[in-house]
């Protein structure tokens, strides 16, 4: 069974530029999560989707971050414009309802 797929794995951009991350969850998982992981810290939830509906986006900085999950499968997380403090690893995870979450390898973002 294929796991959660994320791309790109690494991204280096200059501040004020836009960036987008893509996630393909495990087939059949209707719940999708985006997490932010800073160096030396545990992941922090940014947004959770149940199918195509965002059911928890309370931690998403909506002034610069946006996400979508069209058709309830793949998801895209966007930052526009990026700031230096956005440098981190962005993790995507999926689960069936509220079961165990399976994580992708993450996208390491460096903003210069």
């Amino acid at each position: 069974e294929a796991g959660v797929v994320q791309s790109p794995r690494y991204k280096i951009i200059e501040k004020k530029q836009p960036v987008a991350f893509w996630c393909n969850p495990i087939s059949g998982h209707n719940t999708l999560y985006w997490y932010l992981q800073n160096l030396g810290q545990g992941p922090e939830l940014l947004i959770r989707y149940e199918n195509e509906e965002a059911v928890d986006d309370s931690q998403l900085p909506k002034d610069r971050f946006s996400a979508e999950r069209l058709k309830g499968v793949d998801s895209t997380l966007k930052i526009q414009p990026a700031e230096l403090g956005d440098s981190a690893v962005y993790l995507c995870a999926s689960s069936s309802e509220l079961g165990e979450q399976y994580f992708g390898p993450g996208t390491r973002l460096t903003v210069t």
Partner: protein, 114 residues
């Protein structure tokens, strides 16, 4: 609000010796507790969970965890450590109020020496 604490930034153990990675939690209501492992440049992998039932939970790769309600702890254990167990370990609790999100600890780095 639900939270977990991992008091040790790093745990060092020799191969073949038993290991313990500590986790304490704070919840309102019954705790749903998890352990995840993260290898370099990889995502988190699920190890085990406690929902209800036996206090000793067995998981992947020979790991187990002991739930102790009176001490509000959920320590991760393995009888005999392997060098390949060296990784970053995260304890997490599911917030059963509101949106039921997973709240992670800050992680403990386990180093197993040959």
């Amino acid at each position: 609000a639900q939270s977990v604490a991992q008091p040790e930034d790093q745990v060092n153990v020799a191969e073949g010796n038993p290991l313990t990675v500590k986790c304490t939690y704070s919840v309102s209501g019954n705790p749903y507790l998890f352990w995840y492992v993260q290898y370099p440049n990889r995502g988190l992998q699920f190890l085990l969970k406690y929902i209800t039932g036996d206090n000793l939970v067995k998981g992947s790769y020979g790991f187990e965890a002991e739930f102790n309600k009176s001490q509000t702890s959920f320590h991760l254990k393995k009888p005999s450590a392997l060098v390949s167990d060296s990784a970053l370990y995260f304890c997490a609790v599911r917030d059963m109020t509101g949106f039921q999100k997973l709240v992670f600890g800050t992680g403990t780095r386990l180093l197993v020496s040959p």
